[in-house]
Symmetry: C2
Subunit: 254 residues, 2 copies
DNA sequence: TTTCAATGCGTAAATTTTACACAAAGAAAA
DNA sequence: TTTTCTTTGTGTAAAATTTACGCATTGAAA
């Protein structure tokens, strides 16, 4: 195993890594995908290194395909973390000891815990489509509600904070939802997504008016049935119009 | 010289570099600082490598202090360029030959023309305060009007494009001018800065109303004299209020 | 059959943004 | 000295956008 790792590193950039904040939306909450390091209770973001013949964007896609089972993931680079001690930092001494028990003392000093600059990406995925899959360092990969995210390894809490900020900034100037919602959804569901990301409530009549004014949604002749209330219409994004609006930019003026 | 370079590289990250688009404002135009490589007519952005005990931000500051003579420069990281061939690419074969004549054949293969990821920063500086200073690779450092920027080495034209986009985005959501204008300036001068950055004209009455509504400007009892017209008032930014507005964000709604 | 929570739909008020004109200053030209 | 020319300082009305808000209907659950 360690041998494989060394082989991999010979084909990869050593001083640069990347980490991804994968956002999903489920039951009215934003979730992020986290990995638990083998034999420890230390969690971190999915990430990895860039191969020598691979662009940073390709590497992020490759890594997330392995973690989620999806391909062509919506990815956005948002910040590069270049502090000196960002990778050396770890909150609890005991955790380092746990890691040393699992991976061997000194193992990380040469390979993981060196000075590394990390490129931060965030990804938007359809929650239900993801198959969370641990990597070689970890034995658990699962969703966490943004509100419940524990103290993470390295500077990964800061990464999530910045990723969320970048996502919010994006949501204020572009349509959002195509990558986070299933194909068909109701207007209240879309509204709840916006409310969750931007962190405040909207008037549902004004919300509907604004979203429809973007001319990116198509109302279907179907309704969502089963709930104890009036059945809401289903909508779907018209991809071409959505892409055009995203490229041109819209201002979410609420 | 080559010896010094190797010594430097032993104390620096080799697979990561950074490049800075330094914006200045002069005679109603945006300018960028460019360097001409020794013995060639190839131009590039100022940049360099990060020392092992130095953060990326510190490195950008150190490098720009050397190029401009300024300290505490306003710097904003905007994108990290991670394509495979970004550093190998060069537009003209003859230029590579020129470089090989000056620096020796094969010299760059091992040190400069390797796979490098580059962190992009833009800087905003007061044009008149800058002392353009070449570095070891270059024998000329000077301002270029944005419109006249030639075909640059590597992917540096793309970097300037992205930097400008990032600056525009910033200008739409934050006050701007403190770092680009001299201490005292007239309202028309400030307006011309906004028009130059955002690339379109504004009504001067509405512009003044909007900028004054930010409550970041103080009108002085002085006027700019000498021009063949009515003497305009001088203004200056009230630093504390400017900083507060920048942190909170304002929307430039014109 | 009744209840209850959520949906669908439209208008009026408030706020923000845009459009626009004329008198005064000051150097340059006559 | 006078005239010319360019640029500045200032306010209001119209248009557009954003916000606030109520009632009838649906459909499962009580």
């Amino acid at each position: 195993m360690e041998h494989n790792l060394k082989e991999f590193f010979d084909k990869a950039l050593k001083e640069v890594s990347l980490d991804c904040t994968v956002f999903g939306f489920h039951e009215g909450e934003l979730k992020v995908l986290l990995l638990r390091w083998k034999g420890t209770d230390g969690w971190s973001l999915p990430g990895g290194h860039i191969l020598l013949d691979e662009s940073a964007d390709d590497a992020a896609n490759r890594i997330l395909t392995q973690r989620t089972g999806l391909c062509d993931i919506y990815l956005q680079q948002f910040y590069t973390f270049g502090n000196v001690n960002r990778y050396v930092y770890h909150p609890e001494k005991e955790l380092l000891e746990q890691l040393e028990v699992t991976f061997g003392k000194g193992f990380f000093d040469g390979i993981i815990f060196r000075r590394v600059v990390s490129i931060g990406y965030y990804a938007l995925v359809e929650f239900a489509q993801v198959q969370p899959t641990p990597d070689w360092f970890t034995d658990e990969c699962r969703w966490w509600s943004l509100a419940d995210v524990p103290h993470l390894l390295f500077d990964h809490n800061e990464m999530i904070e910045r990723a969320l900020k970048a996502l919010r900034q994006h949501a204020r100037n572009h349509p959002i939802g195509y990558n986070l919602l299933p194909e068909k959804f109701t207007m209240p569901e879309l509204q709840r997504l916006y409310e969750t990301i931007l962190g405040r409530p909207f008037d549902r009549r004004n919300f509907q008016k604004l979203l429809m004014s973007y001319d990116i949604l198509e109302r279907l002749d179907e309704k969502r049935v089963g709930a104890a209330n009036k059945s809401p219409y289903l909508y779907r994004f018209v991809k071409e119009k959505y892409d055009k609006a995203k490229a041109a930019g819209v201002s979410f003026s609420m």
